[in-house]
Structure formats: C-alpha cells, structure tokens
Symmetry: C2
Subunit: 315 residues, 2 copies
C-alpha cells in the first residue's frame, strides 16, 4: 500500500491534501492511491449543492458545515468550478466565508477548477471523493459553480442533490434549469425573507404536482432557508438525511453504485481505446492519409475506412 494511503486513512490532513493534488495532476501514483481508497467508497453521504451564481450556495454550505460540526460529524467540502482553471488550496471569491472552518480538524475544504478535468470533471470529482471517504468524512458537501453539462456531470456523483433557488432572481422554474430540475432531490428556497419567496414555493409545488413520475419514488421536498440568518438549516439537513435513508433502504443507492461502477469502468476502457487509436494513427501510414489528407471523404466515410481495419468491433 502507498504510504500516503495509510496516512490518509489515519486522518492526516497534510496527507489528504497531498493525495488530492496527486489525483488532480493525474500523477503516476494515482492508480495505486485509488486502489487503496476504493474500499472506503460509499462510507460518506455525498450531498451536492447546485444553483445559479448568487443564490447563496456558499453561505448555505457554510451553515451546513457548522450544523454538522455541532453534531460531531467529520465534513469534507469539494468546491468545483468548471469555468475556472484554478484549483488546489485557492478558495474562490465568495467562498472566503468558509475559511473560518479550515482550521477545524474535523473539516477539510478543497477547491477544484477545470484543470483537473482530464477525462472529465465527473471522473476527477469521483476520484477525489474516494480519497475524502477514506479520510473518514461522514458527509461530503459538493458545491458547483456555473451551469450546463459540466455541472450535471459533477452532480451525478452526489447521493443527494439540493437545488438552491432565490426569489426574484429570474430563476424560472419551468425553463432554463430543466436539466438540473430533474436531478434535484431537495429544492431549497433560500433568502426566504425576500418578496417573491411564497410565489417561488408555489411555482415549485405546482411543478411537482404536475410531475407524472417521481425518480426513485422520491417526492421532492421544498425547504425554505435563510442562509445568512442561519434559518431552516436543521430542517434542510433533516430532509437530506431522509432522502439518503430513502435511497438506501429501497435499494436505489446500491443500484446507483452498480451503475456508476459500470460507467466508470467503461470510461476507462474507452480511454484506453482512444489512446490506442491515437498511437496507431501516428504510426500507420494508411490511417494518417485517411485521417489527415483525404478531406473529400466526410468523417463518416473516413471512420468506416478506419473501422474496416478494426474488424473485432462487430456492430
């Protein structure tokens, strides 16, 4: 076993920092590290927080950390910003608040930018979670900035996803957030003291009422919070826990883990194949000409020529 693995399992804060950096940099030791961390997969409750910039996610996460610490839980925080190339120790702008927790030995906070995205942010995130689970975290809070596919990819690794909305922020429930609406387990109406909070709750209720099918038989609760005032945090966490119990006792968590294991394995096999393709393209003269010179053939025709040389791919 890699010496860092042992130290991470013992809860050494410097070791977990080092391990995450090695994973993020796709270091050659990564393979061995992950092998050591993998047996701990599934130990922690992984909770994702998503929503528009300005919805108050960071403040909410900060409050949830404080709440969890008060009940003695060991907490990991992974803040993912797909649009930023920065990562490592750097805390992004409005995450400064969380710094107050960083001296607490029961909290480990880490930011990740798009740099660690070799093979997709989803994969890097998942691998860093394995390390944090081995480190002994009971709960890992995953926060993403930004929207779009990157965010959805990141959120698929969470057990419970909270979508944080704010009244009057132009968060139109029915339209823009559709992809995210579908993966959210708990809806949070933050800044509940603002005008429009009731309307937003009603809009969500209406949407849930119209929903024909609930994913994994889970009826999404709506929780009102005021992160700055510290209101609603207890109820929010109660709903998070209720969701986790629900997917665990009904077998959905086990099912998800199987699915994830398959997807991760498939991705690695596909990456190996892509490497092989590129290496052969560089050395095989006839491939080079198909790929680079014969531009009259459209990519479909070109790909068929390449596939003819790979007859073991039987479609």
């Amino acid at each position: 076993m890699h010496p860092i693995v042992q130290r991470v399992i013992q809860g050494d804060k410097r070791a977990i920092a080092r391990a995450l950096t090695l994973i993020e940099n796709d270091d050659e030791s990564k393979r061995e590290l992950l092998q050591g961390f993998y047996p701990y997969a599934g130990r922690a409750h992984i909770v994702g927080f998503t929503g528009s910039p300005g919805a108050g996610k960071s403040t909410l996460v900060d409050q949830v950390i404080a709440y969890l610490r008060a009940s003695g839980k060991k907490v990991g925080v992974l803040a993912v910003d797909p649009s930023s190339p920065f990562s490592g120790g750097a805390l992004l702008g409005d995450r400064v608040r969380m710094i107050r927790h960083s001296s607490d030995p029961g909290v480990y906070i880490r930011s990740m930018g798009s740099r660690g995205s070799l093979g997709g942010l989803g994969r890097s995130t998942r691998e860093m979670l394995y390390a944090l689970e081995a480190y002994g975290c009971d709960v890992i809070l995953l926060e993403t900035v930004g929207v779009g596919q990157s965010e959805l990819d990141v959120m698929t690794v969470a057990d419970t996803v909270a979508l944080v909305l704010t009244p009057g922020s132009g968060d139109h429930v029915q339209t823009a957030k559709a992809g995210i609406m579908e993966i959210a387990d708990v809806f949070v109406v933050n800044k509940q003291e603002l005008p429009g909070a009731d309307a937003l709750v009603r809009e969500l209720q209406l949407m849930l009422h119209d929903k024909r099918q609930y994913r994994e038989d889970w009826k999404n609760p709506i929780v009102r919070t005021s992160a700055t005032a510290g209101e609603g945090i207890e109820q929010l966490w109660a709903e998070m826990t209720r969701h986790y119990e629900h997917i665990r006792t009904h077998g959905y968590l086990a099912q998800r883990r199987k699915q994830r294991h398959m997807e991760e394995t498939m991705k690695l096999v596909e990456t190996a194949f892509a490497k092989y393709l590129r290496a052969r393209a560089a050395s095989d003269e006839s491939w080079r000409s198909v790929l680079m010179d014969d531009l009259q053939a459209d990519p479909y025709i070109a790909s068929e020529k390449i596939l003819r040389d790979l007859p073991w791919i039987r479609l």
Copy 2:
C-alpha cells in the same frame, strides 16, 4: 442523393429547417444527408460570439446580421444554449429581437438546446453547420449562452471567435474567463458608452501585452461597440474579415480543417467502439459480473479485466 439535400442546395428554406431537425434528432437519414452536405464544408466564414449573459451578444449578432445583409451576404445563425433542453424553432428570451430578420429570405436563424447533444454539442453543431454551408450561407454566426466546457467545445468549430465583454459587469479579464480568453480571436468591448469601458480596454491591452505567444501569429484586436446604438459594427466586421483572411492565407485554416477532420473521424470510431462495448456488456456473462457485481474491485482493476478480453488494444 437524398431529395432534401438537393432542395437544401437550391436554397429551399423549408428543406433546411427539415434537414436541421433530422440531424438534431439523429434520424437514420442523417448519415446520407451529411454525405450530401459535406462537399460544401468550408464555404462559409463561421464566426462565434461568446461572453457572459447580459453582455449584449444577441443585440450585437442582430446588428451584424443587418450589416451583412446590407452588403448582400446570405447569413445563417445558430444559437446554442447548452443549459436548455429546448431547441428547434424556439427563439430564446432575449433573442426575440432577431425575429425581425426571420422573414428575410437571406437569413436563416436556428436555436439548438442540449437535446441535440448525442455525442456532444460540438458534433451536433458541426453537423448543422455543414447543412447551413450547403444551403449557401456566406457567413454563419454562432452564438452560445452559458459558460464552461460545453461553450468551449462549441467555439472550437468557429473560424473566428469574438469574446464580448462589458464594462463593470464583473468580467474579470485575468481570472474566470481564462479558457475562453485563449480561444478568442477578437475582443469586443460592448456597451462602450458605460463608465469603465476605457479601463476594460486598458486591462485587455495589458493582458495582450503580457502575452508571450500569439496563437497562429494573430495579434488579437480590441473593438469597441455599442450594439444598441449600432456603433462599431463596421469595424468589428472588418476585424473579423481580417482574421479570416489571416488564417486562410497563412495556411492555418487548412491546418484546422485537417485537425477537425481527424478529430471528428476519431470521435465516430470511438462512438462505434462504445456501442460495441455496451452491446457486449449486455450479452457477455463474465463482463456483466465484472461491470455490475464485483464492486470490490475498483474501476481500474475492473477495466483491466475487460481489456484482457480485448487484446488487440495494444498499449
């Protein structure tokens, strides 16, 4: 040749609408359609507009359409919103302005959401561009909403990329937009009448001054515009054209096309392989057990077991 291909080439507006829908839906006729469209690849100057929401991209695109129409160019517009599942005819919120052009036979406007993202938004976008090029567009304006990897993927298919910035909007040149900064060919300071425009221009100049290497020997110009007042559009287009001439005469355009052809072909081969993998996983008992049941083995070990059954992948 597919009958729709013939009609698209003749400039039939209903045919191009139909063709784009078939491509977006990954219809079985897609393969044949693309074969017909591919010979027209490279006919149009493809210009991407990117930047934060609220930077005024839609208004700018609207003005550029008007300018190009005045000089007799046939214009296609592809508006891509990676965060929206909606697509087809639907014009998104602030794109309503562009509707005034939609009755003009020399303009074709299309929105695309994340729905058409089988195999990545980049691929769908590229395939739709082939159709628009065959339709006879001289210029195709590509507008994206949102940030992150999806947007970068979309922008790699453009010949010339404009990054639209606005004074005082918190667009920090040095930080958040780093990935996009690198692919931008022309910087646009829009809403130039706002306070802070001079500072933003200086910030860009400084950044360009510090740049050690210019991609493709191109010194990125900075253009000031006021899209709502219609100012700076002529100069903006002059810089776009100058960039296109630059990459054409210095061979970079041809080089990019080769690279793109290779990447697209590779992606198709990889997709075929992924399909094969999934089909075999469903039928091969020993694979099923590696992928779904043996969760104790981490995905790396599992992938090595699978790769042992695929010895032709020599790494």
